[in-house]
């Protein structure tokens, strides 16, 4: 126990740095995947068949294969197969590659939730907008969008909490997120080696962060309760 108390400050500092990278990946993924998901949702609902087919095939592939494989392919494929290592070899390159994989993967999941949300808004809402002389984009932004958001908050909360923990998959391309930081003390880092407790300790970070998100998303759900 005493040993752990001595190691604690060093470990916490390392884990904090790793967790910062985890948070960065989390927010970049959200910022990219939330809007991109909408674009993909519109693609899959397109009345122009080739577009909707193509989009649905892409969504099928992305949702049908492990994110870990996608990370490996996106990170290694350009360098090892094409001989053009576009991501570079440093931490920033790994971060960009991981962001691309996460944004694309999550956008595909979000798109299906969006599609469900949009299609669950009664068609009468659009028709009411049309007969009132509104344009289709006015109808989407002024009428449909908020009703869709209200409907998708619970399933989106689920995905967002999953994302918090999925960021750990970026460990596979050695992104220095919190799992990587915890594992370092197993192999040996800053005079500490053979210690597994830092790795176990990382769970607490995820737990606290997803707790905070649960509360915030619950607040959003409540806020949208003013209408039905």
């Amino acid at each position: 126990m005493e040993v752990i108390m001595e190691q604690m400050p060093i470990v916490i500092r390392s884990l904090n740095i790793g967790f910062l990278q985890t948070l960065k990946l989390f927010f970049v993924t959200l910022a990219g995947a939330l809007p991109l998901g909408l674009v993909i949702a519109f693609g899959s609902m397109s009345r122009f068949r080739p577009v909707s087919w193509l989009t649905r095939i892409v969504v099928w592939i992305v949702r049908g294969t492990p994110l870990m494989i996608q990370l490996l392919i996106i990170y290694y494929f350009p360098g090892l197969v094409l001989g053009n290592p576009i991501w570079g070899s440093g931490e920033s390159g790994r971060f960009v590659a991981a962001s691309v994989a996460f944004v694309f993967n999550y956008a595909c999941y979000f798109s299906e939730i969006y599609r469900g949300g949009i299609q669950s808004v009664p068609v009468g809402q659009e028709e009411a907008g049309l007969v009132l002389g509104m344009t289709r984009s006015q109808i989407f932004f002024k009428v449909t969008l908020l009703q869709m958001i209200k409907r998708i908050v619970p399933p989106m909360s689920n995905e967002i909490i999953t994302l918090v923990k999925d960021t750990s998959l970026a460990r596979i391309i050695a992104l220095q997120e919190i799992i990587w930081a915890g594992q370092a003390f197993l192999k040996g880092s800053q005079g500490i080696s053979g210690e597994i407790w830092p790795l176990f300790f990382t769970a607490l970070y995820y737990l606290v962060f997803s707790g905070v998100l649960t509360v915030l998303l619950g607040k959003l759900e409540q806020k949208l309760n003013y209408f039905r």
Binding site: P122, G124, Q125, E127, A128, G129, L130, V131, L132, G133, M134, T135, R136, Q138, K142, V143, L146, Q147, K150, Y226, F227, R228
Partner: protein
């Protein structure tokens, strides 16, 4: 000149002919009631007038201007259709109020969006907004909803919702206001308050087309009654002609239950 002329309107869904050679006209300030059993094409007719469906053939004229000549295949731009729609208003059976807006906001929304297209919008923004609010409040008062303006649709009864929907349609000052079974989703008590409001509009010479299953109301409020059956206009004329001196056997059959109740 009639405000509305509909000539030889036809509409087919898949292989079902829903409207077959529909022709009628309507004078300014008058009310036409359309009656008939479910599936006879009444709703589709209103949807064609409001450009929610495109007829396969036929002509629609408002104030002499050809709004739609379905035989003319020139593709219409979305923006043009949008302009044309504004000649008509439509009140739906299921109200279709926007749930995230209050009664007042529901009435104001479309008008405000349209105002943004005015050239002087930027300069007179606050003034225009105020004008629209005053108009919307006035309409809601007229509908007997002065105490309900700040309520959201889910806080209102069905009858109140439908009256908000009527105010919302009136806010755009359509030439012709259409009702698609406006009381079919309401219980008898709430039906009365909505029909009263429509009757008041008729007394103020609002030009209206009312699809309804309320036979007594159709007879009392209308200047002209159309009976539709299987996509055709089987019989039309004054309420006295259609209800009193029914010519067609099918119409008599349809009206028999109603007449027994009288």
């Amino acid at each position: 000149m009639p405000i509305l002329e509909v000539e030889h309107l036809c509409k087919t869904f898949e292989r079902t002919e829903v409207l077959k050679d529909i022709s009628f006209s309507l004078e300014q300030g008058q009310v036409v009631s359309i009656i008939g059993s479910s599936g006879s094409g009444k709703t589709t007719l209103l949807r064609c007038l409001n450009f929610l469906e495109r007829p396969d053939s036929g002509v629609i004229r408002v104030n002499g201007e050809v709004l739609l000549d379905a035989g003319n295949p020139s593709p219409e731009q979305e923006a043009q259709i949008r302009r044309k729609r504004l000649h008509f208003g439509l009140v739906f059976q299921s109200f279709n109020l926007f749930p995230q807006y209050t009664a007042l906001e529901n009435v104001m929304l479309a008008k405000e969006l349209l105002a943004k297209e005015q050239p002087d919008y930027k300069a007179r923004k606050n003034e225009i907004h105020e004008e629209i609010r005053v108009l919307a409040e006035e309409l809601l008062r007229q509908m007997g909803l002065e105490n309900r303006m700040g309520n959201y649709p889910h806080q209102l009864s069905g009858g109140q919702c439908q009256r908000v929907a009527i105010a919302r349609a009136l806010a755009l000052k359509p030439d012709i206001l259409c009702f698609d079974e406006p009381t079919s989703a309401l219980d008898p008590e709430l039906t009365g308050e909505v029909l009263r409001v429509i009757k008041e509009l008729a007394d103020q010479q609002t030009t209206m087309i009312i699809v309804t299953h309320e036979m007594a109301f159709a007879r009392d409020v209308a200047h002209h009654v159309i009976f539709m059956d299987d996509g055709y206009i089987l019989e039309q004329g004054t309420p006295e002609q259609v209800f009193g001196n029914t010519k067609e056997e099918r119409t008599r059959q349809f009206l028999s239950r109603f007449n027994q109740g009288q």
